[in-house]
C-alpha cells in the first residue's frame, strides 16, 4: 500500500552533515519532495519533506530516522490558525500556493485545510490580523 505524508524533521547539530535523505531513497525506495530546509546558527537542521512510498518501507524509513536521532512531527501540527484572531476576510485564499484555504460558498467562512499546507509561510505576514502561526 502506498503512502504519502508531509513531515517535519529536526536534526541535532551532530547530524547536519549526514546524508539522511539519500539513505531514505537508497535503502527504503522513498520518493521525497523538499518543501523547506534550513540550518540555524546553532547548526540545528530543519527539513520539511513530503515522503512517498510503500507503507512498510515508509515505516522502516521513519524508524531509521528516529533511531538516528531525528525528531519527527506531522507538518499539520506546525501551521495553525488562531481562531480568535481570524476575521474570515479571505485575504489568504489567493496567497496560498497550494490552495490550503478555501471559502465555504454558503457561509463565506474561510476553511483552512492544513493537510494541504506545505509550511511555506506566505500566509503568515499576508494575514491582516496575523491569525496564522507557524511553530517550528
Amino acid at each position: 500500500m502506498a503512502v504519502a505524508k508531509k513531515i517535519v524533521l529536526k536534526f541535532p547539530k551532530r547530524m547536519v552533515d549526514r546524508p539522511i535523505v539519500y539513505r531514505l531513497v537508497k535503502d527504503y525506495d522513498l520518493e521525497f519532495n523538499i518543501l523547506k530546509a534550513s540550518i540555524t546558527p546553532e547548526q540545528e537542521g530543519l527539513l520539511v519533506l513530503e515522503l512517498k512510498g510503500n507503507q512498510q518501507e515508509y515505516d522502516k524509513g521513519i524508524e531509521f530516522l528516529l533511531k538516528a536521532g531525528v525528531q519527527i512531527q506531522a507538518l499539520s501540527q506546525d501551521v495553525t490558525r488562531n481562531e480568535e484572531r481570524c476575521t474570515h476576510c479571505g485575504a489568504c485564499v489567493t496567497v496560498c500556493p497550494t490552495g490550503a484555504f478555501k471559502l465555504d460558498q454558503k457561509t463565506r467562512m474561510v476553511i483552512f485545510e492544513n493537510e494541504k499546507c506545505i509550511a511555506c509561510g506566505l500566509c503568515i505576514p499576508a494575514c491582516p490580523p496575523r491569525a496564522m502561526e507557524v511553530h517550528f
Binding site: G90, A91, R108
Partner: protein, 404 residues
C-alpha cells in the same frame, strides 16, 4: 402606507418590531412582494467588517501633579506616536501611526506588526498601555516628562473617531506588472495572478441606502461592538460617480465619519491590522439600521451582489499614478464565485472584507432592535446627495518658487 421613525421606535420599545438582515430581506421581498413587505417590515440591518484606515481615537488622560501639557510636546502609547497638537492632556491616535523605530519598508515588504490600530485594540480589550510624554514646560504646566501605565477604565474620555469608514463600493485590485506588489489591497501577484476586492457587497450599509435617504448625521449605529453615531460625511465623500440603473455607485462613492465611546467597544470588532508592505491599520465593525419607511426605501435594501459592480484597477500602474484607466467592471456575484475574467484570463479572487463577520454584525444589531435595546434616530441633517454637486478633486500642485 408610509411609516415614521417614531412609530417604528414605539414598536421596538414594545418588542414588536419586525427586523431582517440585509441578506434575508432579499428572500422576504421575493416571497411577499414589495408592497406587503414594506408594510410588515420595520427595519433592515446592514453590516461591514473591513480594514478602515482613516480610523483613530482620542483620549483625555486626566491631569498629573505637577501638571504636564502634551500640546506641542511628544507623546507615545506603547511606543506609537500620538498627535499632541491639542490641549494639555488630550491625545489623538491614528490607526496608521507607527513606532519611530519600526523599520517600515526599509527591507521591502515591511511587516508592520504593531501600530496605532493595535493600540486601539489593546485599549478596547482593557489591557494596560504605556504612556510616555515629554513637554517643554510652562509656568502653569511645569512638568517635562511622564512615564506611566494607563488603562481605558481610568481615562476621562476614550472616543473612537473615524473620519472615513464604510466606503460605498471599492476598487477590485490587480497587478499587470511582472513582479509581485504589496498594496493596501493585499499581496497582488504578477500578470493578473489574483484580484482582491473589499466590500461586504449586498449587506454593506451604503449599498442598501445608495442615495443616503435614511443614513445621515445623527444616525445611531453598531460601532466596534458598541453603539456609535454617524457624525458627518466621511472624507472623500463623492456622491457624483457613475451609477447603475438602480442607483448603485459603480465605484467608491459615499463614506461615513463615525464616533462612539471606545469604553463600550470590543476587541472582537476593532482588530489591529498589519498590511504587508503597506502599514498598520484597524479592522472596524459597523452596522447600520435602515428604517423601512416606505416601498422605495425597501426596494433599495433588496440589492443583491449581482446588482453591484466594481471597477478593476491596476495597482501596478493606474492606481499609483492616479490614472483613470480601468480594466473593466465585474459584479460582486462574479467576485464571490472565486474567479473573474480579465482580458480573457481567469483570475482568482479574494476578499479583504469579511462577509461572515459583516453578517454577524447585522444579526447582532437585529437582536438589539428586536429586544428593545437599540432605538433608531432621526438624522438631524442629510449627507450631501447627488443633487449637492459635491465631488472630490485631485490635488493641484503649485510649485513653490524660490524666494532667495
Amino acid at each position: 402606507m408610509a411609516k415614521t421613525i417614531a412609530e417604528i421606535n414605539e414598536k421596538i420599545k414594545a418588542g414588536k418590531a419586525v427586523v431582517f438582515n440585509a441578506e434575508d430581506i432579499i428572500e422576504v421581498v421575493r416571497e411577499k412582494g414589495v408592497k406587503k413587505a414594506a408594510q410588515e417590515v420595520d427595519v433592515v440591518t446592514t453590516g461591514t467588517f473591513g480594514i478602515m484606515c482613516s480610523s483613530g481615537a482620542y483620549f483625555n488622560t486626566g491631569h498629573t501633579s505637577p501638571r504636564i501639557k502634551f500640546g506641542g510636546g511628544r507623546a507615545y502609547l506603547n511606543d506609537v506616536p500620538a498627535y499632541t497638537g491639542l490641549a494639555a492632556v488630550d491625545l489623538f491616535l491614528g490607526a496608521n501611526a507607527l513606532p519611530d523605530d519600526d523599520p517600515r519598508n526599509r527591507v521591502h515588504p515591511g511587516e508592520f506588526n504593531y501600530g496605532g490600530g493595535h493600540v486601539i485594540e489593546e485599549l478596547a480589550a482593557g489591557k494596560d498601555v504605556r504612556l510616555e510624554a515629554t513637554a517643554y514646560g510652562t509656568d502653569c504646566y511645569p512638568r517635562k516628562k511622564l512615564e506611566t501605565w494607563i488603562n481605558i477604565k481610568d481615562l476621562n474620555q476614550a472616543t473612537l473617531f473615524n473620519i472615513r469608514n464604510a466606503y460605498q463600493n471599492y476598487n477590485v485590485a490587480v497587478n499587470t506588472s511582472d513582479k509581485t506588489i504589496y498594496t493596501y489591497m493585499g499581496v497582488l501577484k504578477p500578470k493578473l495572478g489574483n484580484a482582491n476586492y473589499s466590500s461586504a457587497g449586498q449587506i454593506s450599509p451604503l449599498f442598501n441606502d445608495p442615495y443616503y435617504k435614511c443614513i445621515g448625521i445623527g444616525t445611531r449605529i453598531f460601532l466596534g461592538g458598541g453603539t456609535g453615531f454617524v457624525v458627518w460625511q466621511g472624507t472623500q465623500f463623492n456622491p457624483n460617480v457613475p451609477r447603475t440603473e438602480k442607483g448603485i455607485p459603480k465605484e467608491g462613492a459615499g463614506t461615513l465619519a463615525v464616533i462612539g465611546d471606545l469604553k463600550q467597544m470590543s476587541p472582537k470588532w476593532l482588530v489591529g491590522t498589519s498590511v504587508l508592505g503597506y502599514g498598520c491599520s484597524l479592522t472596524v465593525g459597523i452596522g447600520v439600521p435602515i428604517p423601512i419607511l416606505d416601498e422605495e426605501i425597501l426596494q433599495y435594501t433588496i440589492v443583491t451582489d449581482a446588482d453591484i459592480v466594481a471597477p478593476v484597477i491596476d495597482y501596478a500602474d493606474a492606481f499609483p499614478h492616479l490614472k483613470p484607466d480601468t480594466l473593466g467592471e465585474v459584479s460582486y456575484a462574479e467576485l464571490k464565485s472565486g474567479k473573474i475574467k480579465i482580458k480573457g484570463k481567469d483570475v482568482p479572487t479574494a476578499s479583504r472584507s469579511s462577509y461572515p463577520k459583516a453578517l454577524e454584525i447585522a444579526n447582532i444589531l437585529k437582536g438589539w432592535i428586536e429586544t428593545g435595546k437599540f432605538l433608531l434616530t432621526e438624522p438631524v441633517e442629510k449627507l450631501p446627495g447627488v443633487e449637492s454637486g459635491v465631488s472630490i478633486k485631485a490635488l493641484k500642485e503649485r510649485p513653490i518658487e524660490d524666494q532667495t
